[in-house]
């Protein structure tokens, strides 16, 4: 709604001006009140008048009430006092409004209020003043002045002031230009148009500001000379000035967020650092059934997420996990439960072991079936001994079994047996992994000498393989690398690994690719076998060149096989092309929906876990999914609610980013590397070739992102000295905390945050 007043009320605005003029601005630190008074001074300077403007600075912090003053006169101004009886009063923050703000403001004065309310909301209020109401905050926000949290309204509200004065908008232009604020003129014009104005009541309309009958002098008293000596000054609680306050708050660590198993990585590293391997193991074993395994074969997405990577190299988390597993024989005790349940778990791979572990340690009865002669699944028959020695795997398996897991080996359950199981137990978890290995489907694939890599690895693990001559491995995943490195150890003269994409696109763990090349494996990239040839035995593979094609839905470029081919002589080919979906072993009337088995419309107490549920393909994912599925099944049994199986343990919070870490508080210390055997001793040996860390010192490098380590930085940096150690943490004296935020800014690990104080906490004292 626009007012009826003409926009160009007078040429200069001087006609109605009574000099000397005193203006007082009330606001809060950060709102721009002092600049507002300067702009007013600049406005009057354009009219050829003498001005004087200054702020009544309190504490230099946002939110504290401030005043600013402007005097205007035809002659130089010698009054050096604050403005106690303003002719014009501008209030930037409606919450400040009260007797103290109005003090000394006589009837007939001009009052301009920044308010969300419309003029008619002030019926019966401020009737002695020429009153203007404007929502300058909304206008400034609309024009993007300030930030989303702090809107700066000084330039906006002056448009309304000009309108109230009756001066043309053009008078503001020079004033704004003089302070470099011309960009805000549009907002001022907006306010000029929008301000709602009400004239004073007729009986006060004629009164001048000074000497009006309704004027109540409210100057501070002048004390007699003798009085003050005995007065003890009142305590000044500077905490009442702040609108924000710091607090300690744990934030998510990127390593924890990245861990597919849901391990509390920050927690176990800090426990290792502060209390040793046993304490760390107790943290780790809450979520991790197979720490010795993961400490060796995990692709460690935690290390990719580690904030230290942006500083001096990621913490060697995987090897710290290994160090803990290798140096502690702690086992979490089996708990007792009032409602023991019976579970059957099918498949003794990582997912089945993890699920069994979590259920057994909570006191439930678990029967674990595996078709093979031992537990471990792919850990036992797929991952070579030089990466995962059998005794290491056995240590983790023994810990799980020792919790009372009833193990049935060589137990391949047919459809009928499976169909009966749900009636015999409270819940059934299927952890049968992936299906059979994939084939290329090209000519010559059935020639002797062309073998599946998984079969090869299984036989090699049993010590049943010797190789001779040239070996070609096809594939780019961890199985392919395992095949290549195992082939070298089995006597191959040379090993070449053929992959259809680039090295960077290989799904295998980067360190494993490095190790393979270090040991002598040659990579043949951007090549795809299109045929195998040979008389009797395979003797060559025909490779077509592959070009990167158009990106698919995930953004990954699809390989395009060209017609350009070459031939690579070989004696053995190992295919490591991945595995298909779970074999069709379920009873005919079972259907899988959302990781659970249904018969018709009835949900059976049967869940799928691990690779057979989601095909994520790493040991760590399977461990995490096995645990979460077990807990989801348990929750369903206890509450009857099917909340589904969560895909991770993330709580939706963004983890601490490198920019939130104060690197300057840390010394540069490169990561401790694992000790490795030289290639000369690796070639014909299945002995473990990575020997892990020499000690636990790597734990010292952990930033402990988002979690307080009681480092005292907050206490040291607090300029007010109001932070003290208390109990297991710190206490902040709210009476004297100014809310400067220095402790939060200086916290090395983002374990603190600022929060807006609520209205009860914020004093509106002046």
């Amino acid at each position: 709604m626009k007012n009826d007043l003409p926009r160009e009320a007078s040429a200069s605005g001087l006609e109605n001006l009574s000099l000397p003029l005193e203006v007082r601005v009330h606001g809060r630190g950060g709102q721009g009140g002092v600049t507002c008074a300067k702009l007013i001074a600049s406005l009057y300077t354009q009219m050829g008048l003498h001005v004087q403007t200054f702020g009544d600075y309190g504490s230099e912090r946002s939110g504290a009430p401030i005043q600013a003053f402007t005097r205007v006169d035809r002659q130089p101004i010698s009054n050096r006092n604050k403005v106690y009886q303003p002719d014009h009063l501008i209030v930037l923050d409606e919450a400040l409004m009260g007797p103290q703000v109005l003090s000394g403001t006589a009837a007939g004065a001009l009052l301009l209020l920044n308010t969300r309310s419309r003029l008619d909301a002030f019926a019966g209020q401020f009737e002695d003043y020429r009153f203007g109401a404007i929502d300058a905050t909304a206008i400034a926000r609309e024009h993007g002045i300030g930030s989303s949290s702090v809107v700066i309204i000084n330039t906006t509200i002056l448009g309304a002031y000009a309108r109230l004065l009756g001066v043309p908008l053009s008078a503001l232009e020079k004033a704004y230009a003089s302070l470099g604020l011309s960009g805000d003129l549009a907002a001022a014009e907006h306010a000029y148009d929008q301000v709602q104005i009400r004239d004073p009541r007729p009986e006060t309309a004629g009164a001048t500001a000074r000497g009006a009958t309704t004027w109540q002098p409210v100057l501070p008293p002048v004390l007699p000379l003798t009085e003050h000596h005995t007065d003890l000054p009142a305590t000044l609680k500077t905490g009442t000035w702040s609108t924000q306050a710091p607090r300690y708050r744990e934030h998510a660590a990127p390593c924890n967020q990245a861990c597919p198993a849901g391990n509390d990585i920050r927690g176990f590293i800090q426990a290792l650092k502060n209390e040793g391997a046993d304490a760390a193991a107790r943290v780790l074993l809450r979520t991790q059934a197979l720490p010795s395994v993961c400490g060796r074969v995990c692709p460690a997405p935690c290390m990719q997420g580690c904030n230290r990577e942006a500083f001096d190299g990621a913490v060697n988390i995987r090897s710290l996990e290994r160090w803990i597993a290798d140096h502690s024989d702690v086992t979490l005790e089996r708990q007792s439960t009032d409602t023991p349940r019976r579970f059957a778990v099918i498949g003794g791979g990582p997912a089945g072991l993890s699920a069994s572990y979590q259920l057994a340690r909570r006191g439930h009865a678990v029967t674990l079936y595996d078709a093979g002669p031992g537990l471990g699944g792919v850990l036992r028959n797929g991952i070579p001994a030089y990466r995962l020695p059998p005794d290491v795997l056995q240590r983790d398996v023994d810990r799980i079994v020792s919790l009372g897991v009833d193990t049935r080996l060589n137990a391949r359950l047919d459809r009928d047996a499976l169909a009966r199981l749900p009636d015999e137990v409270d819940a059934l978890l299927l952890c049968t992994g992936l299906g059979p290995a994939l084939k290329l489907g090209v000519e010559g694939e059935t020639l002797p000498g062309v073998e599946q890599g998984l079969d090869f690895l299984d036989q090699a693990k049993q010590g049943q393989v010797t190789l001779q001559g040239r070996v070609v491995v096809v594939g780019g995943g961890n199985t392919a690398i395992d095949c290549a490195r195992t082939a070298l150890r089995c006597g191959a003269t040379s090993v070449k690994l053929v992959y259809r994409r680039s090295r960077e696109e290989m799904p295998a763990i980067a360190e494993e690719i490095d190790a393979a090349e270090f040991e002598g494996v040659r990579l043949v990239l951007q090549r795809q076998p299109v045929a195998f040839t040979g008389n009797g035995n395979v003797s060559a593979v025909v490779l077509a060149e592959v070009e990167p094609g158009a990106p698919d839905a995930s953004g990954r470029r699809q390989p395009v096989v060209s017609s350009r081919t070459s031939t690579l002589d070989c004696d053995t080919v190992l295919l490591a092309l991945g595995q298909g979906a779970m074999a069709d072993v379920l009873p005919d009337d079972w259907q899988i929906r959302n990781g659970r088995v249904w018969r018709g419309d009835a949900a059976l107490p049967v869940w799928l876990a691990g690779d057979c549920a989601n095909g994520d393909g790493t040991v760590t994912h399977a461990i995490g999914n096995g645990r979460r599925t077990a807990l989801a099944a348990l929750s369903w049994l206890e509450s009857g609610l099917d909340g589904g199986v969560p895909t991770g343990d993330k709580n939706g919070e963004n983890p601490v980013a490198p920019g939130q870490i104060r690197f300057s508080h840390f010394d540069v210390a490169p990561p401790h590397r694992d000790k490795e055997s030289p290639p000369s001793v690796r070639r014909n040996s299945f002995d473990e070739c990575n020997h892990g860390l020499a000690g636990p010192e790597e734990a010292e490098r952990c930033f402990s992102c988002g979690q307080c380590t009681h480092c005292d930085t907050c206490l040291i940096y607090c300029p007010e000295g109001v932070i003290a150690r208390a109990g297991d943490g710190y206490r902040i004296d709210a009476d004297y905390c100014k809310g400067c935020g220095m402790c939060v800014a200086e916290c090395p690990r983002s374990a603190m945050e600022m929060h807006e104080k609520n209205k009860q906490e914020v004093s509106s004292c002046l």
Binding site: Y57, S78, N79, P220, V222
Partner: protein
């Protein structure tokens, strides 16, 4: 000349900049700076200026800021710095060194209460701490006066007969942060007013140490020279006033600024902006028929004793208002001028506006009401002015 809307802090920074540029044909300009409220704006302003043959060096402390100025002045450059309060206290050792090395460094001091407890507001106690060690001290009452005095301070400090540092003081916030019009001269006029800096004892090609050991008789001689130069500075200043007026067309304030003091029976003596308030009180009381006048001491070191003595002659009562307190004594200004009055004149010390309190006309009226019935001066009286 052009009218510019500037805070006193920025005015001081601009005056130093113009003075710095004026020495471009000489050994240039160099300023060491370190921030402290309320003088920070002055150093910030200086840091943003392009000064031909000039450099502003940001250092890690006030002590080092003055050390830069000492080095610069000792090498013959024009030099300037600014500070406040405990910053000045920390700088003090080197301020004194600059003085006894007779180096013409100019400082703008935004007066602030010395802490702890911390108080950011005005109090003259910081600058007065340095009154006895050979630095010239001015106290100003408005933006234009501050700007003009900084320019004049370079001329005075660098005068061969003076050759010592000069402090130009303004009350923190009350003046330092107050924005008002300043008449800013063109560079050519400043060039005309400020000759090229010449430090006779500046470090030349042959390396040597400054300020090596003085034996007693040498110290006596050095103190005597310094004292003579101080005493002569007031006369030199009078000459600078004339030249300033000749070049800029306005009169630079006197060492002591009287206001309706000729026929006054009662005088209000003060420094800085309280002097401006005292003049408003004089007008108010004169209108009521009271014979009151005011005296504002602008040049505190060297103290213009003779001028003050002349203005005191024949007065019945003198109220000396200090925005400072020498603990165990009373107002510092009062202590300085007490002995300059006739025997029998009541010279009473009033302490007001300590820690930045707003001294209003009513306060001064109350002081005079207290003074009027006194037959003798009493203990220093403190008045609370929140």
């Amino acid at each position: 000349m052009s009218l510019k809307l500037l805070s006193a802090n920025h005015g001081a920074g601009l005056a130093a900049t113009l003075a710095g540029r004026a020495n471009r044909t000489g050994r240039g300009f160099c300023s060491g700076v370190y921030p402290i409220t309320p003088s920070t704006e002055c150093m910030e302003y200086l840091c943003l200026q392009e000064i031909e043959k000039g450099r502003v060096v940001k250092v890690e402390s006030e002590h080092s800021a003055m050390a830069v100025c000492i080095g610069a002045a000792a090498a013959g450059a024009r030099s300037f710095t600014t500070t406040s309060s405990n910053g000045l206290a920390y700088m003090a050792e080197n301020c004194i060194a600059a003085a006894y090395l007779r180096l013409p460094v100019v400082m703008a001091v935004a007066n602030r209460t010395i802490g702890p407890p911390w108080n950011i507001w005005a109090d003259h106690g910081d600058a007065l701490m340095l009154r006895d060690h050979g630095l010239i001290q001015f106290y100003c009452a408005d933006n234009q006066e501050l700007f003009d005095t900084v320019l004049a301070a370079f001329r005075l400090a660098e005068d061969p007969a003076v050759m010592m540092p000069a402090m130009v003081c303004m009350e923190g916030f009350i003046l330092s942060h107050t924005v008002a019009q300043i008449d800013v001269p063109d560079q050519a006029l400043v060039d005309a007013f400020l000759p090229t800096t010449t430090v006779p004892h500046r470090l030349g090609e042959a390396p040597h140490a400054l300020g090596q050991i003085d034996l007693p008789h040498q110290t006596e001689m050095h103190r005597h020279q310094h004292l003579s130069a101080m005493n002569g500075a007031a006369r030199v200043y009078a000459g600078i006033q004339d030249e300033f007026e000749h070049i800029f067309g306005r009169r630079l304030g006197d060492a002591v600024v009287p206001y309706r003091a000729d026929d006054a029976e009662t005088l209000i003596v003060s420094m800085g902006t309280i002097g401006a308030t005292a003049e408003r009180v004089v007008d108010q009381l004169r209108a009521q028929g009271q014979k009151v006048g005011a005296l504002r001491v602008r040049l505190f070191r060297p103290l213009p004793s003779e001028a003050i003595r002349a203005w005191f002659a024949g007065k019945q009562r003198i109220a000396v208002i200090d925005r400072d307190v020498s603990l165990g004594f009373g107002g510092v200004l009062w202590g300085e001028v007490n002995s300059l009055a006739d025997p029998g004149t009541v010279v009473q010390s009033y302490l007001a506006g300590l820690g930045g309190g707003d001294v209003r006309p009513e306060h001064i009226v109350n002081m005079l009401a207290d003074l009027q019935p006194r037959k003798n001066a009493g203990h220093p009286a403190m008045m609370e002015a929140a």
